[in-house]
Amino acid sequence: MRYGFVIDHRRCIGCHACTVACKEENQVPLGAFRTWVKYVERGTFPHTRRYFSVLRCNHCDNAPCVTICPTVALYRRPDGVVDFDGERCIGCKSCMQACPYDALYIDPNTQTAAKCNYCAHRLEVGLEPACVIVCPEEAIIAGDLDAPSSRIARLVAREKVEVRKPEQGTRPKVYYVGADSSGLTPALQAPATSYLWGQRPAAEVDLVQLVASAAARERGTETALSRPVYDAPHLTRPWGGKVSAYLWTKSIAAGALVMAALDRLMSLTRGDALFDTAAPMVALVFLAITMALLVLDLKRPARFHYVLLKSNYRSWLVWGAWILLAFGVVAALWLATGRSPDAGAWHRALLWPALLTGFAAAGYSAFLFGQAEGRDFWQSPLLLPHLMVAALLAGAAALLIVGTAMGASESALLGMGGLLAVSLILHAVLLFAELGVTHANADVALAARLITRGGYRARFWGGAVLVGIAVPLVAILLLPGALVLGSVLALAGLWMYEDVWVKAGQSIPLS
């Protein structure tokens, strides 16, 4: 049994009854929508037409929100409905990044994620969803796609149907009959700062204007695109500065311990305090900051332990938590044994665990961002190596600063300097590879262009590239004595890049 919807746009008149009936049935707060009607227009007078699209959760058979949700607050029921349980939700917003359809929002009453759940409470008593029964045109058809004689199954079999973003591989169960493809595909829509009878929230307008200049160049002339003339508001960019800061602090934490392990592996200094105690301390301090940022970014921070106690083992948020914990244990052991007479032996024993957990801590985010299926820009195969290089870069830079301050050995500092230079070059190569190569699709290309030529170009070229790569390289390679300056700038540049990367990835409209 698989419940799904058919939206029959041969019948839909764009009246918004479904929107309001849903709000009434589910007491959806202002500013949030479980279902909404988008209008787009095409053509020039008098050959103009307005098309409606009823948009909502697709109850995907392969639902990315279910996969990424760390606490099984989102789940697919055996009848195909993707339901949610606000009492398990920690408000991490990862589902909003995973969903390619803009279906989720954070309920301001509970600070937990919510979306269309097929009126599961009505299903329980044998009733159709509220949007279905209100529709004047019977344009929304609910039912079991697996029952061959059901109305919905017959429609799907006999009519020409389409789904939103089939390329995402989510296997959506909302089928459209007679819809205009451009209404279902944001890449085919021109930017709009207001609508024919509604405003857009200021945050949306800012984002549209940010993306617009890059979009115009990427997507060609606006006349080829549909013109959105009505849409419901959506939260823009659920992940903000705390998430980009977390990537950065995690790079430092992971990198610092990796540096100590590499020192041991290559027998570089044979027991410099920089690596025996300072490095694990840096790792632990920045790990603590990382964890704090993660918890504080939750809409329900007091529920952070649900990640460990109500785990969804398929979520990289859960794996990430365990990896960070394991990394913390290794770093703590490294530090605890750092002053013991047997430090050398201990650290040789901890070497591989440190490298393993360090790189895991640095790199797991690639899989987490990979599970954020809604953000195509983040789906880069280069992300994993890039995060590891970022950890090397951040670890080396951090230890250079600390080491200089504590008077570490020349060889230690030289080693770190060399590693920093190498990782800066690798960082530059990966960064340009990510942004410069042919992109997977137009949305990825647009996000990349937003960074290189759009609203983020100053921060990217001036901050990430000039301040963060070019100047540090010059400082390290050509200006002896400028190692600390170079390290500070490299760290600053890395932060700017990660911030821009996180923001740009969320700047492309999902619906």
Partner: protein, 920 residues
């Protein structure tokens, strides 16, 4: 099919789930409506059970009277939600967005719950709570004095939405012996009504969309209007079965967008298009000759207008060809801008539809243009030519698809004629010249001792609202003003009493609308009272039930009129009281349920039998089901045999309620009442015809009439879910005009009318004809005080200044803002736009025949200057009085034949006694 194994970990609820067999139902079975149990949506997936009574009522957000089903929580007595009533024949369980939004109106944290009386001067905004007793005694005393002193004409009741209360109120006002019913009709549908009434004596169309083969709409019935939801259902039904749809509308409405043909004419040229289509039907002989020969007064036309021709139908065919010879498709294209080929294509499609031609016009161009009533007449000409009158898939006159059960004891009409409502200048108007009232009072035509406004909001809705403010603040002209309303409004601010009346679920009404080829009644009920009474509580009056359920002292109007009538005539000496006595308990005051009990027992054919079959009384049946289908498949009513009727095919038949008892292609009435040039369907060049607009001087025509799918005039201002969707009314401007004016979307334009200007922002769009600027009339609500006088979900706070003479200036101080209330959503209001109130800047423009306010405005459009702000309004009421005098001069006043004020046969709401029709 087996469910594929799920790879992800299961939520406990999902683990425990068993599969549900069989299909899903749309509604709980009726047998369980008394005690329905389901699960709380917010607590889900925790299973928290709730128990409800499901009580049917009728939506009150537009005139369609769709069914609602209220879920009343057994524990909290709160209404949890409104769904559709699946047993309602018109709406069939489905609703538009405004149906469920009723919940917002009921739960509005700022609604008025107790009667208020003004303190200080009228319009100053100071209020005190008073008792209903004090209100009723004061008003009854004033009315009694007026009646006793022969000042019957000084009592006026002005409403927006009558519904079936029409008969109810007719009882009240005829019992009082007054001619005091005033409506909104002349700012709405007067021209459409006139056009239809001159054809068939009934003033509305009732298209049978569901069975049509071709649907021609000059209204936007897939998104708004009478009767949006029921009609939209049936239009799409027909479309899915292969019917084609054409929409004539200068603006791309959602309806036009769904149509097979969108014809966007220059506003006001629609009749030229329609007559060109008629010409195609005639010259290509696509019309139904048999029907026209039998049912049209062609012989009268030939005798009166073409004495040169023999009285034969062949001669009439020739006469028709000659009459419309000038209306070539090319002429229509020159007038309208719509390609001739399209006009011919649509005409031939109409010709192919036979009698299954469903058409509708209600406001749109009829309400916009001088002579708009001839557009309705030209549209109906197509229906008549195709013989599509009252056929399956055709277009019937309204009254045949309506059930109007008689109440107990109908008083005879009064022998009074109010010149303030129906002045001599407009003998053919449909109906009361309501929007001219301020000018009539200014000219000294009378005064009002007691003026009621019911929900209706003339200060905001009518053109020239500043003149209304001037009138309402003049206590010599309007001595007492009581506003009967569930919500604050711009007009309520200028009242002496603000009296809270119930929303859709808080009152009784009997409704019937011509939604399709059937006749039905729907029963609006105060659902809290019904729920409490089902559990053994009893109440004398509905407001007591509301108070018991925690809803303050909200009255229902039915009871208000009974109570008021008893207090006007406490001893029965004026002959009023007897009409408000119980038919079951002689001499006792009528209880509201007795009124409806009597109607259901005596006036609804088939209802007592249907009730008996279920072991119910007729009243209990209606309380349970909320609707009753009196007759289905109503067709060809005019053919029914009727003694003394018109003889067709050798049988006396019912015919049409016109002087000829036939469809009047030729209206002798119009000829006799001084409009001989309009005696047949004709094309009148509008007051905004393109030849009068000089675009080089930035003149344009403003189309200010269109509605939005989610809003209803001024009664939905507290519906947060609707305003969240629609809250701004920018000026639609074609890119060509935008280039000429040098503006882009979001820029401000200053739009100057004959009496002032307003400032609004631009929406550049390909959905409007070049040269036309369009603005929805739904937005632009305002209030004068921060925390009172307007719904904060939808109003801007404004500063209103009366400068020298008639000069008024309004400026927005701030738009919509989040606010604290019992509803946490009020702090989450994310929009700040309230729109712009354009109607204030419109002078009155009464059509000299129909009396319709012609809404379209010739405007001068320019970029806003440095001193202009969004939402600015400037008006000079001296100028509006001048414009009024100019339009008044177009009128051709009574008397007509027989020294009459108005043709006796012509419809009028609450017709006075025939003796009152004669001028002294």
């Amino acid at each position: 099919m087996t469910t594929p194994p799920l790879p992800e970990p299961l939520h406990p609820v999902a683990r425990e789930m068993s599969e549900r067999d069989g299909g899903l139902a749309a509604y709980p079975p009726v047998a369980r409506w008394d005690d329905w149990e389901d699960y709380d949506a917010v607590a889900w997936p925790r299973k928290v059970k709730r128990r409800y009574s499901l009580i049917p009522t009728i939506c009150f957000n537009c005139e369609a009277a769709c069914g609602l089903l209220a879920y009343v929580d057994h524990e909290t007595l709160a209404i949890k939600k409104f769904e559709g009533n699946p047993l309602h024949p018109g709406s069939r369980g489905r609703n538009c967005a405004k149906g469920p939004a009723t919940l917002n109106q009921v739960q509005d944290p700022e609604r008025i719950l107790y009667p208020l009386r003004r303190v200080g001067k009228r319009g100053e905004g100071q209020w005190e709570r008073v008792t209903w007793d004090a209100v009723l005694d004061d008003i009854a005393g004033r009315i009694r004095r007026a009646l006793v002193e022969g000042r019957q004409k000084e009592i006026m009741y002005h409403l927006g939405r009558p519904g079936h209360e029409l008969v109810y109120l007719q009882r009240v006002f005829h019992a009082w012996g007054i001619d005091g019913h005033n409506s909104h009709t002349n700012v709405c549908s007067a021209s459409a009504r006139a056009g239809y009434a001159f054809w068939h004596g009934m003033d509305r169309p009732s298209p049978d969309h569901a069975n049509a083969r071709f649907i021609l709409l000059l209204s936007s019935h897939l998104e708004t209007g009478h009767y949006f939801n029921p009609h939209a259902q049936r239009i799409i039904e027909a479309k899915m079965r292969g019917a084609r749809v054409a929409v004539i509308d200068s603006r791309l409405s959602n309806t036009a967008s769904m149509a097979d043909f969108w014809l966007s004419p220059w506003p006001g040229t629609e009749a030229a298009i329609l007559l060109a289509m008629a010409r195609v039907l005639v010259t290509e002989r696509l019309y139904d000759r048999g029907f026209v020969e039998k049912w049209v007064n062609w012989d009268e036309y030939l005798r009166e207008e073409r004495p040169d021709l023999p009285v034969t139908f062949d001669a009439f065919h020739t006469a028709l060809e000659e009459l419309y010879a000038a209306y070539t498709p090319e002429f229509a294209e020159r007038e309208s801008g719509v390609p001739a080929a399209t006009i011919v294509e649509v005409a031939r499609a109409i010709g192919g539809a036979g009698g299954a031609l469903a058409t509708h016009i209600w406001r749109n161009t009829a309400a916009g243009n001088l002579g708009g009533w001839q557009v309705a007449r030209a549209l109906e000409l197509l229906v008549v030519l195709m013989g599509a009158v009252s056929t399956p898939g055709g277009t019937a006159p309204s009254a045949w698809n309506k059930a109007i059960p008689a109440p107990p004891m109908m008083p005879p009409p009064g022998k009074v004629w109010s010149e303030l409502l129906m002045p001599k200048e407009y003998p053919l108007a449909f109906f009361e010249m309501s929007f001219l009232l301020p000018h009539f009072l200014r000219e000294g035509r009378g005064k009002l001792a007691m003026y009621f406004t019911r929900v209706y909001n003339p200060v905001w809705t009518n053109p020239d609202g500043m003149s209304w403010i001037e009138m309402l603040t003049d206590e010599a002209k309007v001595e007492r003003h009581a506003c009967l309303t569930p919500v604050w409004s711009e007009t309520a601010w200028f009242a002496d009493y603000v009296l809270p009346m119930g929303h859709a679920s808080e009152r009784h009404d009997l409704m019937s609308q011509e939604t399709h080829a059937a006749r039905w009644i729907g029963f609006r009920q105060p659902v809290l009272r019904v729920a409490l009474e089902r559990r053994g509580r009893t109440f004398d009056l509905t407001w007591q039930a509301h108070e018991a359920a925690g809803l303050g002292q909200v009255w229902e109007e039915d009871e208000f009129w009974i109570e008021l009538s008893w207090r006007i005539d406490p001893d029965g000496a004026l002959g009023i009281r007897k009409y408000f006595e119980s038919p079951y308990r002689p001499g006792e005051k009528l209880r509201i349920e007795e009124q409806y009990r009597w109607i259901f027992e005596n006036s609804v054919p088939g209802l007592p039998e249907a009730a008996r079959a279920e072991n119910l009384t007729p009243l209990a049946y209606m309380r349970k089901y909320g609707a009753f289908l009196v007759e289905d498949h109503v067709y060809r009513t005019h053919e029914q045999p009727e003694t003394g009727g018109v003889v067709v095919d050798g049988v006396a038949r019912r015919g049409f309620p016109t002087p000829s008892r036939k469809l009047e292609f030729f209206s002798k009435t119009l000829k006799d009442w001084k409009w001989p040039e309009h005696a047949v369907p004709a094309y009148v060049r509008s007051h905004v015809h393109w030849s009068l607009i000089d675009r080089a001087r930035n003149e344009m025509v403003l189309l200010p009439t269109f509605r939005l799918p989610t809003l209803i005039h001024t009664r939905s201002g507290n519906a947060k879910w609707l305003y969240e969707i629609s809250h701004t009314n920018p000026l639609w401007l074609h890119p060509e005009d935008a280039r000429r004016l040098g503006v882009a979307t979001g820029d401000l334009l200053k739009v100057a009318t004959a009496i002032g200007h307003f400032v609004d922002k631009v929406w550049v769009t390909e959905s409007i004809r070049p040269g036309v600027v369009a603005c929805s009339h739904h937005l632009g609500r305002w209030r004068l005080a921060e925390t009172a006088g307007g719904e904060r979900w939808s109003t801007a706070l404004v500063d209103l200044t009366h400068e020298a003479g008639g000069r008024w200036r309004m400026r927005q101080l701030h738009g919509v803002r989040p606010f604290e209330s019992a509803d946490p959503d009020s702090a989450r209001v994310w929009w700040d736009d309230a729109g712009v109130h354009q109607n204030l800047t419109f002078p009155v423009q009464p059509d000299p025949v129909s009396g319709q306010h012609c809404w379209h405005q010739k405007v001068t459009v320019a970029r806003a200057g440095a001193e202009d702000r969004y939402g600015d309004i400037v008006v000079d009421t001296e100028k509006s009085f001048e414009v009024y005098r100019q339009w008044l001069a177009l009128a051709r006043p009574a008397p007509g034949p027989g020294n009459l004020r108005r043709p006796l046969w012509l419809p009028r709401a609450f017709k006075p006694d025939a003796s009152a029709y004669r001028l002294p």
